[in-house]
């Protein structure tokens, strides 16, 4: 690839910054905010197009009758050009412009057991479309690898990250209910969203019937009151179209405005990072090689410190492609673990049931949030399982069925129409999200195929294994037993095929650890091998836990910038 890049004409003079951040999504936006607020002239590189807050949310509040396919999207286009994004069930007519065209951005994977790589290549990345669920980790998670004697130990503990969780939550705004659980620590919460009447009833029944199980309202990065100049939620529902009032956390609504305010930010969209430039003499990453997405021109940018926030696999791809005499297998990869221990959260298992009664109750507004049942397996001596280690949490909620039930309801004509005028029965669904262990043979490497910009495509391999399969049986069983105990009727379990990546919580591949021989990053997300190179997106994760991971990436990023700035002041980097 060194040869490949030299074919391009380096036409302009290099530009020098204090810091370069690669990627403008959830963690990259945070890196840019923290670096610029510390006075560093920062270049934020984004591989995709610009998306402007508000004005580029073209489908916000669009009614279905204005959408060509009534919200379903262009099936033929999706099947031909967005097949992997489509398989993940997340794209629709209103949001597909925030997901990559797989045809333009191919990757290699196995035909059986493919890895699903769901991406957003534009300013803001997946911060525009994320699920917004926000849960802290605890030492149950940070000590897990050590206690189970698998993979490597996390080099940090809860006390290291706790103040950074506080810091991040105070900035982004997280609504939630305090529950006092050791393994799902409370945070700096805005007022919680309400549960509906059926959910409140189920919460009580779970509490009365099951020790160690708690159902709480989802903790989410959606504002329930105005916060730092952003408006509170107006409950339109489909957040992934973008939110002009900035009611949910995104780079656009939160971190990028803060970074811009400093006057230290240069945002450069359409800048695909090919590789990192490394200087053997100083053992420093001195800059990055960028290919312009539109013109395919190559340009180099230089900085004293580099933060990779291109998403777990994106950052790893750049590192693998940054080869030199010192690092023939990718920069900062003396351990050889770069690309390995790819994780995600497995799901698509759960149960649902219906509730009789409450037909005189309804709701107003579309709450962009559900309920959460934190992990209750293997959390203490009393909850140890024989068939699997680690655990899972449930997301879910209750709602009344709507007109959609008409497609399966017998009859037609006036009576049929009148029945659908009223909402149907209350239904409650639960879906589990479970921890996937770090396996060496779940991994990504560079393929011999290149993309349109001459960059080697990733080839991604992976699947879940025995521990996860055993956990899935338990997920279905406990979902059903809770719904039954809560009085649900017609309880049915579902267990659908899950493909690695489908949780869109892909993480690992450049893990943190204590030993440079077995990990890529140290306790401060700093590359063991290259002290001015930091990776603070999902790539850094040493284990996956079962909580939605974004808040942890944000906290680790803010913490790593604080460390990097101190090190720069000391002259260490």
């Amino acid at each position: 690839m060194e040869n490949k890049i030299k074919e391009y004409n380096i036409s302009q003079s290099p530009e020098q910054y204090d810091a370069i951040v690669v990627g403008s999504g959830i963690s990259g936006g945070w890196a840019a905010k923290e670096l610029t607020e510390n006075g560093l002239k920062t270049l934020l590189l984004e591989r995709g197009r610009d998306v402007k807050h508000g004005e580029d949310y073209k489908t916000e509040h669009m009614p279905p009758w204005e959408a060509e396919f009534r919200g379903r999207g262009d099936r033929k286009l999706f099947e031909e050009e967005y097949p992997m994004q489509l398989r993940s069930d997340v794209i629709n007519e209103y949001n597909y412009h925030f997901f990559v065209n797989d045809k333009e951005h191919p990757y290699q994977t196995d035909e059986e057991d493919p890895f699903l790589w769901v991406r957003g290549y534009h300013v803001g990345g997946r911060s525009l479309t994320w699920g917004r669920q926000t849960y802290r980790w605890s030492d149950l998670d940070f000590e897990a690898n050590l206690n189970d004697d698998i993979a490597v130990d996390w080099p940090i503990r809860y006390e290291d990250i706790e103040p950074w969780y506080d810091y991040v939550e105070n900035f982004i705004g997280v609504s939630g209910q305090e529950e006092g659980l050791d393994h799902l620590p409370d945070g700096q919460f805005l007022p919680p969203m309400d549960m509906n009447c059926v959910e409140k009833d189920v919460r009580e029944k779970i509490k009365n019937n099951f020790e160690y199980r708690t159902m709480t309202i989802g903790r989410c990065a959606v504002l329930t009151e105005p916060h730092k100049g952003r408006g509170s939620c107006h409950y339109c529902g489909p957040c992934s179209r973008g939110c002009s009032v900035g009611a949910y956390f995104s780079s656009q609504s939160s971190t990028l405005p803060a970074a811009r305010k400093t006057g230290n930010l240069t945002l450069r969209p359409n800048s695909i990072v090919h590789s990192i430039i490394y200087d053997k003499e100083t053992n420093r990453a001195t800059g990055v090689r960028v290919i312009d997405r539109l013109t395919k021109e190559t340009k180099e940018f230089y900085a004293n410190v580099i933060f990779l926030n291109a998403s777990a696999l994106g950052s790893t791809q750049i590192m693998l492609n940054s080869t030199s005499e010192a690092f023939p297998n990718g920069i900062a990869n003396s351990s050889g673990v770069l690309g390995h221990y790819l994780m995600d959260h497995h799901f698509r298992v759960g149960a649902s049931g219906s509730f009789e009664g409450y037909t005189d109750r309804y709701y107003h507004g579309n709450r962009p949030n559900g309920i959460y049942i934190p992990r209750f397996r293997n959390i203490n001596e009393q909850t140890i399982q024989d068939s699997f280690i680690r655990g899972y949490g449930f997301q879910g909620g209750a709602s009344r069925s709507g007109w959609g039930r008409g497609t399966n309801m017998k009859g037609f004509g006036e009576e049929f129409k009148n029945k659908l005028r009223d909402p149907g029965q209350w239904n409650f669904w639960l879906t589990a999200f479970g921890e996937i262990l770090p396996y060496e043979d779940n991994y990504a490497e560079l393929s011999d195929k290149t993309d349109d910009w001459g960059i080697p495509q990733l080839e991604i391999h992976g699947s879940i294994k025995d521990n996860e399969h055993s956990m899935r049986k338990d997920m279905a069983a406990t979902a059903a037993e809770m719904l039954e105990a809560a009085g649900a009727k017609n309880v049915s379990t579902n267990e659908n095929e899950y493909l690695l990546g489908e949780g869109i919580h892909e993480m690992g591949t450049a893990r943190m650890g204590r030993d440079p021989k077995t990990s890529v990053l140290n306790a401060h997300n700093q590359a063991h091998d290259v002290p001015n190179l930091f990776v603070t997106d999902g790539a850094c994760m040493t284990s996956a836990a079962c909580q939605n991971p974004s808040i942890t990436y944000m906290a680790l990023t803010a913490r790593a910038v604080d460390f990097a700035v101190e090190e720069m002041k000391k002259g260490n980097i």
Partner: protein
Amino acid sequence: MDRREAIKQLAFLSGGALSLTTVAGIMGGCSAESGSSGFTPQTLSAAQNKLVTVFSERIIPATDTPGAKAAKVNEFIDHMLTNWNTDQEKEHFLKGLNHVEEFSNSEFGSNFVELSKDDQISLMEQLEQEAIDNPNPVPGSDLKPFFSMMKEFTVVGYYTSEIGASEELKSNLVPGYYDACMPYSEVGRAWS
């Protein structure tokens, strides 16, 4: 979690089978005529368009609110057949329309649109029963019976139209606040 809701809440449209040449045969070379609304169907013939219009109105008729015809469900169906469904599904659906006419003629002696309301309903009840008895009419495929496909098209087309979503049901694109538990009587209709 709710990133999946939108797609999940919408029932999946699928349907019928056969090849393009068969479609051409079914279409019988008859060209579509512009209706009074200025709508020119792309896939349905003029006769098929009329049949779909009448059939969908029988599924969701005008009551104190407009029905499927006013909501232009026929235009939605033609659009989906033309641009969304697979060729196999499209042909299966068109074959289903032919079957309706054959059935109508053999049972009642004329085309569906010319039958009395009672005869139309009687025929539709028989089609619905057939669909219930044989939910998988083309073994080895996931094609649905014509009646199920037609009903799904009609329900989706109607309740996602402005009439269905905001006259028949209640539409609330920007609710402004969330009330988790309120008397249904204060809303009075299902949210679309």
